[in-house]
């Protein structure tokens, strides 16, 4: 920086100009030398092979089962185990989970009438799965979530809204 601020003679300026030119050309050559071995797949040397994976499907002879064990696919809620505590709804940073519950009068259980996950909002961060106490909410290995309608992105796992008469029946059954 200091060198540039002080006044240069014409000779020094010309030398600096050409030095910059040659250093630019040399760095260009060096960068091409770094990328060139990758050409044609570069499979000969192991650490230079392609690091992205093929899309996991039968075309590339890989299936969803080959995915890593902790891969986070679309969410699934086992409503039989779900207690309706609402931890997942509270912890969700994007508000993708909507929960509606009805408390049963006689027992401590709740009736999970609505359990909607909006995959348009979901970022697949996995916080809800971590916070799920009965471990009913899990990541599946399903990853193909493309749909034609935006409304199709909402996955419903709830038992449905319930009338008071029906609620009494459920309570009677225990």
């Amino acid at each position: 920086m200091n060198q540039q601020q002080q006044r240069l003679t014409i000779f020094e300026a010309v030398v600096l100009y050409f030095r910059a030119l040659f250093s630019g050309a040399r760095s260009l050559a060096a960068s091409i030398g770094a990328t060139f071995p990758y050409l044609g797949g570069g499979r000969a040397i192991d650490f230079r092979k392609e690091v992205t994976e093929q899309y996991p499907d039968p075309v590339s002879s890989r299936t969803a089962d080959d995915l890593p064990p902790r891969s986070r696919g679309l969410l699934f809620n086992d409503i039989e185990r779900c207690t309706g505590c609402g931890d997942c709804e509270r912890v969700c940073p994007t508000g993708a989970i909507l929960l509606e519950t009805v408390n049963l009068q006689e027992s401590a259980k709740t009736w999970v009438s609505v359990f909607d996950i909006d995959f348009a909002r979901c970022t697949f961060c996995g916080l809800c799965v971590e916070s799920c106490n009965p471990a009913s909410l899990v990541h599946t290995k399903q990853f193909e979530g493309a749909v034609y309608q935006k409304t199709d992105l909402v996955a419903s796992f709830g038992r449905g809204r319930i009338s008071p008469a029906h609620l009494q029946k459920v309570e009677a059954r225990g």
């Binding site: 091409i32 990328t35 990758y38 590339s60």
Partner: protein
Amino acid sequence: MSFFEFLADNTPSDPMMDHWLFGLVKLAITFGLLIIPSLFFMTHFERKLSADLQARVGPNRAGWAGATQSIADLLKLLQKDTRQKQPRWSWPTLQVVALFSILSVLPLGSSVLLLDTGMSGFLPFFSFSVYVLASVFYGLEQKKMEGGLSGLRVGAQFVSGLFPAMTALMAAGIRAGGFRWSDFVASQSSHLFGWAIFSDPFQFLAFVVFVASGLVILGVPPLHSGYSEVELRGGVTSFYSGSELGLFRVSRLFAAFYWAVFSTTLFLGGWSGLGELAPPVAGFAEVVWVLMKSFGLLFIILLVARSTPRVRADQVTDFAWKILCPLGLVALLGTAAWNAGRVTF
């Protein structure tokens, strides 16, 4: 009178009509059988080679090794809705018209060359300036920060790249003794060291300056910060969508391809150097030879583009003004001195 009767009546007797029909047929052949397939070829190999150089897989779904991916992309873009209020005459249309006008002077081979005037070497510059100005005005027309800034950058890049490109073209013209494409080709003999770039050091310098300033003018990677798709939310293309965006992308490919063909003709021997062949075979071989050399040049540009990060907008213009301009002048003066005794105008 049907159209074919009209043709039959007019073709043999009227040499002017003959000329026009011949020109039209040449244009159709050049465009349909050479340019369009070349563009699909270019798109595919650009993608595959970029993927290789970046240790990715690249397109692998549509067709064998993703060979028809670019066709699929084009069909998809054409199907998409464009913006609501679409004027009949828009800037992308002007860009396409400007690039189409180059087709009449595109030196792909002596058999498909339509016009060979004493100004041939300069004609692409006029078309390219219309092409770039359309981008600039489209960006400014949006009255938004992204479009306006990007439009100004594209304009600044164009202005800075034009002068070195012109000096390099002059250098080539001095060596060839004229600005006809046929002059350029005739002055370069068949063997490798007869090509202009290897004939003297100043021509090599002029070649480098010409190609680099073409990247600056047209905003070809790695000097494409004027079009800055990423950091300016699309830049001049932020209002484009659907078929307009497709048209714009294709036109940028066109422009890069044209520049490679011009560089090939000016410095890499053009269509010369195939020896004696029978007329139809010779015409075909010339085109293939020019296309091969152009794609080779584009491959080198791609190699540079994928090996270096994108250059900042002010650095691009700095590079053009402070490095390409002096070098272009050196190439021009050097060529003039080198060829002083040889050329007679």
